[in-house]
């Protein structure tokens, strides 16, 4: 006991001595925050705040605790309960409760921190980059030996290398290595032969090589593969039957955006809020499909509101994780345990996304209906005519209605059904005297009602009455030919109402026959006299354009004022338990002071995110691009820049890159990537000298060039390219390359039907992505499932990889084609083998490698002679079935499994 007392006394003395003697200032982020994160915040942070004490922000930390007093007195550590509790001798009272006591050093730091008036700091990644970070001083002072050609980027790298006692960068890689590296990085596969030759013969410089690669159409395809993980793009809906979804036009939009080098800020604005831009183009609407890649559930009996809520939550999480490098998902249930993000702030942010017209409907409404060029000409004519009939607002509204069928109410949004049902939770079906309730419908003096329905009987009457019994309208519903859009005039009826809707038909004998199935209905206030005889022609064009079956893509459309949704805080994240209502807003810690106007909708949000003072958007992007090229980000946790993420290996470089992107490259990726790839850092050889491997085992400090395994997409594309099988056709619906039979065994009727006529040899980015059964050869190489945003793929190295590239018929077919080219090349067997090696790996084989492969060739011939292997079967993909072609196929298959082929060197 006495010993304890002495010890704590000693500590207090130390604390007192330090607070008087030591005048160096405590660094909150570097010294204090790590201790708080590790030792304090799990109980006194965003989740729990035990004893009423919360260390998440300075404000909270100074509040009264449950004891009635604050735990911290700024400027006076010895009076602060927090320090007392850290040093208390009684383990029942000492903090952390039940844990190891803090070390003397840690207590010193916290003591100084309180004595120095509790300086609080913002986490490094929450600070705006307000001015251009200057290159390291030692470089300017000449203590680092910069060669003439070194760039500013290199100076940052050299500065860090110096700290781990590494002198300078590794030597430049040879041309063949750089060629393959740059090609894989920029277009995701080897460069076209002509470009390769031009560069290797010295006709074009390295710089021109980069420019030429970036002007290839395949550039956009490569970078789209990266973005589709963020966008969780897939060709199916996710839950249960995982049915098909037509959303490939979004993928094509992304490819085009990368190829035309759309500035990243516009790229983000259009994807988040393209529909809110003034008079948006079809392309801008397509961009909003970004957030319609959410999984939906068409299963019977599902609560559409529940799955809509999940989708909205997913949009919030994806926006933060994918674009702002912050894990926000945990704030759904409670305040962030470690970062100053409050529980309510999650829902304020969610409010931006919660006012869209989607409702987990089976057809994925709202949709953009894509018109052919002819249809668009017709539409323009119609709108031109309409302009003469009415004001521009109605013309705009007409255009949107034809293109999107919005705004409308969905049949499944009705309730209180009697002798009616939501069939398979997809459509409202009314039987004889069937009844349903529609809430809060805005009539706004509507003159027409539109009804998308299917009626199996004649003479149906659909009656709308208010809940007070006032007649609104009665519609005569004829028998339809499948689904039809009926347009029926109505007497204007002002205001917003809750209706009863009842149905009856004299031709129905049986209570159980469904008279009408309703998909949606809309009310429109129309000045255009569609019904007048002289306009019959225009009315028919209108009807035709409106009803025609067209390719569609799910998009975002904001609810009109009358359909506005309210957003509430969900109690502990449970959507069934709503707490207070909130309005749209961004977390306080990220508010940008220059913005005086409050942010109200997704468009405001998108502008806020792409403000050059936003601390995270640019950092997240440059880090992502960096990780694509160097195999790991400067912040390794690409998805988390918060205080629990890994600290940046090169903090100043990261900020400098972000500044450059925004201010020197105007958010354009091509010139930014070129700057990175022109650096000496990028051009280093990836050979690790023992010293560099020892001091920088993971290459965190870039002491050598990147050596990274190719991605799932690169592995496929490279194999197709070097074998000459690649079909470089762009765009369009996804294709189904070979996969083993019965791999996808849905209980719906959607089967994997292998594409033919060269479609099976398209690039990986066009592979049909079924969420419940993603393409196996790519999944084995760590592709993302694409159910939710996956900001970082974790690379693995498993025997299953070997099985794919050795045995998957896709890869064996590629080997067979490479073998054909080898056989057709001139010279001896050795020459042919060298040729194949060169084609695949991009540089000449060593004598030793050629002789290993030659032995294999001879061995193959021998086993075929013995009857062990079968030349005919081996050359299945080849016209020529001779033993020598079969043996060459074995050699090509071997080359296409070499480490150097699977790796970027």
């Amino acid at each position: 006991m006495i010993r304890f007392w002495c010890f704590s006394c000693f500590l207090l003395c130390c604390a007192a001595m330090l607070s008087c003697g030591d005048t160096t200032l405590v660094d909150y982020n570097a010294q204090v925050k790590p201790i708080l994160n590790k030792k304090c915040l799990s109980c006194h942070g965003g989740v729990k705040a035990s004893g009423g004490f919360n260390l998440l922000t300075r404000d909270l930390a100074l509040r009264e605790t449950e004891s009635g007093k604050p735990a911290i007195h700024p400027g006076n550590a010895s009076r602060s309960e927090m320090i007392h509790r850290l040093t208390h001798q009684d383990p029942e009272i000492r903090m952390p409760l039940g844990g190891e006591p803090l070390t003397g050093d840690e207590i010193d730091i916290l003591t100084k921190w309180i004595d120095q008036d509790l300086p609080w700091g913002r986490h490094w990644s929450y600070e705006s980059i307000a001015q251009e970070p200057s290159p390291p001083q030692d470089v300017l002072l000449g203590s680092i030996d910069m060669e003439e050609s070194a760039t500013t980027l290199d100076a940052f790298v050299l500065h860090e290398l110096q700290k781990i006692d590494i002198e300078g960068l590794s030597p430049r890689a040879d041309d063949t290595t750089l060629l393959r590296r740059a090609s894989l990085d920029l277009i995701g596969m080897p460069a076209p032969r002509s470009l390769e030759e031009a560069f290797l013969s010295g006709r074009v410089s390295y710089e021109v090589l980069l420019d030429s690669l970036m002007s290839q159409k395949s550039y956009g395809e490569k970078w789209t593969s990266m973005w589709l993980d963020i966008a969780r793009y897939a060709d199916s809906k996710g839950y249960e039957r995982d049915p098909h979804r037509d959303i490939w036009q979004y993928r094509d939009w992304v490819i085009k955006a990368f190829n035309r080098d759309q500035p990243y800020d516009e790229f983000i604005i259009e994807q988040l809020a393209g529909d809110l831009l003034p008079d948006p183009t079809d392309e801008q609407l397509l961009a909003t499909a970004f957030h319609r890649n959410t999984s939906t559930n068409d299963e019977g009996g599902t609560d559409n509101e529940e799955y809509r809520t999940y989708a909205v939550i997913d949009r919030v999480n994806t926006t933060w994780e994918g674009i702002m490098g912050t894990t926000f998902a945990c704030v759904q249930c409670h305040s962030h345990p470690y970062d100053p993000l409050m529980h309510e702030e999650y829902y304020e942010f969610m409010a931006f996304f919660n006012n869209t017209r989607d409702a987990d409907t089976a057809p994925d409404y709202p949709l953009l209906r894509s018109m052919s060029e002819e249809d668009s000409v017709e539409l323009d004519k119609l709108l031109g005519w309409a302009t003469q009939q009415t004001d521009s607002a109605e013309v705009q509204s007409l255009k949107r209605f034809i293109k999107t069928w919005q705004p409308v109410y969905y049949g499944i949004e009705t309730d209180s059904l009697i002798n009616a049902a939501l069939y398979d939770t997809k459509y409202l079906g009314l039987r004889q005297n069937g009844f349903s309730l529609l809430r809060d419908v805005d009539l706004s003096d509507a003159t027409s009602i539109y009804l998308r329905c299917r009626a199996g009987v004649e003479g149906g009457l659909l009656r709308f009455t208010t809940i007070l019994g006032e007649e609104v309208l009665t519609l005569e519903i004829p028998k339809t030919d499948g689904w039809e859009i009926l347009r029926l005039p109505m007497e204007p009826f002002p205001g917003q109402h809750t209706f009863h809707m009842t149905y009856a038909s004299p031709t129905i004998q049986d209570e159980k026959t469904v008279g009408i199935m309703i998909d949606w209905f809309g009310f429109r206030n129309e000045e255009i006299p569609w019904h007048e005889e002289q306009n019959r022609n225009w009315a028919s064009i209108y009807n035709d354009l409106l009803s025609r079956e067209l390719p569609t893509t799910p998009i975002m459309i904001e609810n009109p004022r009358a359909m506005r949704r309210k957003t509430h805080v969900f109690d502990r994240g449970n959507w069934m338990v709503e707490k207070q209502e909130v309005s749209a807003g961004v977390p306080e810690v990220f508010e940008i002071e220059d913005n005086s106007e409050p942010l109200t909708n997704r468009l405001d949000l998108a502008y806020w995110m792409t403000d050059t003072l936003h601390p995270l958007t640019s950092r997240t992007l440059v880090n992502r691009l960096w990780s694509q090229i160097f195999g790991q980000g400067i912040v390794k946790t690409v998805e988390d820049f918060g205080s629990q993420g890994t600290p940046p290996s090169h903090p100043e470089l990261l900020d400098w890159l972000a500044w450059q992107l925004m201010h020197e490259h105007d958010w354009r990726l091509k010139s930014f990537l070129k700057m990175v790839m022109m650096s000496n850092t990028y051009q280093q050889q990836s050979i690790a000298s023992p010293n560099r491997l020892d001091r920088d085992p993971e290459n965190r400090f870039l002491s050598r060039g990147p050596r990274v395994r190719l991605t799932a997409e690169q592995i496929r594309d490279q194999a197709l390219r070097v074998s000459g099988l690649l079909n470089d056709e762009m765009y369009g619906p996804s294709v189904m390359p070979f996969q083993p039979t019965k791999w996808t065994t849905p209980y719906s009727n959607e089967h994997w039907i292998q594409s033919t006529d060269g479609q099976e040899h398209r690039r990986a980015v066009y592979t049909y992505w079924k969420r419940s059964s993603p393409y196996p050869a790519m999944m084995i190489f760590d592709a993302a499932e694409r159910s939710i945003c996956e900001a970082r793929r974790i690379q693995t190295n498993t025997p299953l990889h070997a099985l794919v590239t050795l045995n998957d018929p896709v890869y064996f077919e590629a080997a067979s084609h490479l073998a054909k080219h080898m056989k057709q090349s001139s010279g001896t067997l050795k020459d042919q083998i060298s040729f194949g090696y060169q084609q695949a790996i991009g540089h000449a084989a060593s004598t030793e490698e050629v002789s290993i492969l030659e032995d294999l060739y001879k061995n193959s011939i021998k086993t075929m002679g013995d009857g062990g292997s079968d030349a005919r079967a081996l050359s299945k993909f080849s016209e020529n079935k001779e033993e020598d072609i079969a043996a060459m196929i074995v050699v090509a298959n071997t080359i296409m499994n070499m480490d150097e082929f699977i790796m970027k060197n």
């Binding site: 918060g642 629990q644 993971e698 039979t741 499932e785 050795l806 045995n807 998957d808 032995d855 071997t894």
Partner: protein, 493 residues
Amino acid sequence: MSEKLRSEALLEHARFQSRRCFLKNCSLGLGALTMSALGCQSGQSFPSVTAQKSMDVGANLSMYPGKAKHIIYLHMAGAPSQLELFDYKPELQKLDGKPCPPSLLEGKRFAFIRGVPNMLGPVGNFKQRGESGAWISDLLPHLTHHADDITFIKSLSTDQFNHAPAQLLMQTGSALLGRPSMGSWVTYGLGSENSNLPGYMVLTSGGSNPDGGKALWGSGFLPSVYQGVQCRSDGDPVLFLKNPDGMSRDLRKASIDAINDVNRLSYETFNDPEILTRIQQYEMAFRMQIEVPDVMSIDKEPEYIHQMYGTTPGEASFANNVLLARKMVENGVRFVQLYDWGWDTHGTSEDGSVDVGLKKKCDKIDKPIAALLTDLKQRGLLDETLVIWAGEFGRTPMQENRDGLDLPFKGRDHHPYAYTIWMAGGGVKRGFTLGATDEIGYYPIENPVSVYDIQATVLHTLGIDHEAFTYAYQGRDFRLTDVEGHVIQEILV
């Protein structure tokens, strides 16, 4: 230990690990690998995560000796009716055909029941079985002989009433897509016992994959090596296992040797330890090509085994899968997951009914499951293997009236509020029943347990503390049981 030291330790590990050492030690999971980096023991998981990436892993495995070493999880996808099989409710028989009291319907959501349905009495004939006196209906005649081997849990409830989310909740601890499955967690923690076989294998039967899709055995945010490897009865048992047509095993060996010879030269150039791992993985792939087809074939099983299980070689059946599960466990596979599709008995069709379809399904599983328990016991494997039988929710005591209409067959809607599952073997009591439901089987009235409790208990039997077993991702420590779950002590030995 600092990250730098850890990475150095790992690097040394990768650099000097000889093939023999590798083979000897590959039984450990990644949790163990992390520990090995901390100096406990050198080990390597099957299959391995790259040295560089394993640094991200924050497994914090609190280990104590587990009773079970293997799991065989039999998931009846579609949700079998507890009221016809295990949860005997004579009172429900008396109410058969009477309208459901409104108190049971208020505030409730059902998948298909609308308005006021009628009650539906149990279809099977129940008797008490064995010394324990557990109620099992005569729909499962063979299983009745194992009443004294089994722990029944009759008071389980879930909060999901649709198949896909409920299956996801049972298997991944979350109704939403994106979390690692239980098998992934377990192999991440414990690895496999056999270097030539994946640690987590999945077999499906019934003609369709379960509604939840491959996400049910996905690895979520865990490295993809912990995905369940789906074994198929058609074609290659493991994808791409078979050599291309015409290629002999010797020739494949020669080509892998050539690949590895060239890769060794690359290693001399690049000095990249990852190349050594790749060399090992190609060797392992070759061994898998030999071993997996052997384990995955039931051709060589003796006739009495086929009689016992009711298996026919070459058939795609639940029975064959059950026999394969036994073989896999015998060969050191850690987690064998079976899904059998077709248990969704709404009454909308003959096959999907409790009066006809359910019997057909029971006939297909009864004999093989009984055989599995007998066989494991005879081989001394039941003590170290936990067999779990479960659906994703239960079925209503009411007759379904889809869209408010009468249906042609007897059927029950989805019932999340109470259902029965059972476990047998490693770590759980024999001849025991936990919990009970009310007179009509609507709610648990005794010892209610949650899906998370089941998961916590399963991990416990393997020697894993579900609260300490976490993975750091997105700035947070994730667990299979999220923030829930209590080990059900009552059923443990």
